[in-house]
């Protein structure tokens, strides 16, 4: 049983291989590759003791590799881990990974791969949305160009965890899928706001009210009411401000936005 083993993970998934090595009470390193990504899982007499994968360690690394559906694996007998990052029994590891895969099945029914690109949804259905700090970190990087994998790397989380967050954001109606045509032509999420003092103060005031989606709301509202963002016509500017204020779901924030912009409009009248 000291012979190295290897094969294709499209036939035998990582979780199956972990089960087999655990049952055989093997010691060594399981090396798995999926394109440019690699994962190493170390065993000591059948117990998983350490794993690292694309910047992740421990159970997260095993979860990440378990979701791979293509690639190759090889087991290097008797190679020892130089550290320990998995502190649970193999049964618990298998249970954790199985639960993760179950969740990922649900996620991939909506988000097939981490290569998907999403943009902020400007037309929010809910009047109130609550999100967690981790979700906010991801949401603030959604720009219609970066893929889920890019964002996961920037935030420093596993692609599968990022996919779960995207799943929640998508279900909340905060983001929308960007088609490949949109990405190619630059239509849709591409921002094209003039850098005038008025637009900058408009975006700043709206960002205080609704967050990073603000520039997109300004752009879309201007398009809807056919407002020329370079125009200095006070009536057009006031109408744009008023229309945007009506889009802010929370009354108090809408008033704070109006207050800030009324001051700005007043200053401009005085000049």
């Amino acid at each position: 049983m000291n012979k190295d083993i290897g094969g294709d993970i499209s036939n035998t998934r990582v979780l199956e291989i972990v089960k087999i090595l655990s049952l055989g009470k093997r010691t060594g390193r399981l090396h798995v590759t999926n394109g440019a990504e690699t994962c190493n899982i170390f065993f000591s007499e059948g117990q998983v003791v350490h794993a690292h994968c694309s910047g992740l360690t421990g159970i997260k690394a095993i979860q990440e590799a378990s979701a791979w559906t293509s690639g190759e694996y090889r087991f290097f007998v008797d190679e020892q881990a130089d550290m320990q990052s998995v502190f649970m029994g193999t049964d618990d590891v298998l249970l954790e990974v199985t639960n993760h895969l179950r969740q990922m099945d649900k996620v991939t029914s909506l988000i097939p791969s981490p290569a998907m690109v999403y943009a902020l949804e400007t037309d929010i259905r809910e009047s109130e949305v609550q999100i967690k700090a981790a979700q906010w970190k991801v949401l603030s990087l959604v720009d219609g160009r970066k893929s889920i994998a890019d964002i996961a790397q920037l935030v420093g989380i596993a692609s599968s965890d990022a996919m779960k967050i995207f799943y929640t954001l998508l279900r909340s109606g905060l983001i929308r899928e960007v088609s490949s045509e949109e990405r190619d032509t630059g239509v849709g999420p591409t921002l094209n706001l003039p850098k005038t003092a008025f637009i900058e103060s408009l975006v700043a005031a709206l960002t205080r009210a609704i967050g990073p989606i603000a520039p997109y709301v300004v752009q879309e509202t201007a398009r809807d009411i056919t407002a020329d963002l370079l125009s200095e016509d006070p009536a057009q500017r006031a109408f744009l401000v008023e229309t945007i204020a009506d889009k802010i779901p929370e009354g108090r924030m809408s008033l704070a936005f109006l207050e800030s912009m009324a001051e700005k409009l007043k200053e401009e009248r005085a000049v």
């Binding site: 009536a235 006031a238 007043k266 009248r269």
Partner: protein, 105 residues
Amino acid sequence: MKGSTKDLLQIQGVQGFVLTDGRNVQVKLPSTHPLSGAKERFKRLHQELGRKGARPGNTVEILLDNVLITLFFSGSTMLAVLASPDVNQALLRITGRLIIAGSPG
């Protein structure tokens, strides 16, 4: 800062305003204005439109002859702004909304 009636009067085309809670009526209009003596008419307007469920929103715009009357409601308070039709209407509505939001209601 909430909107002030001073800001309102500085908007070009605004002729004046009437502020009422149903009992007291404050009229700020030039004495030559055709509606400067219409205190009772504004009270009735307040009675008609100030009731709960009497209107779909909190802002009502009426074009009467050559005067645009914009009414803002909050609780029992009604602010009526009288202006010429060529006024910057959006700015008037923004300022009116801020004034009524800052009123005791």
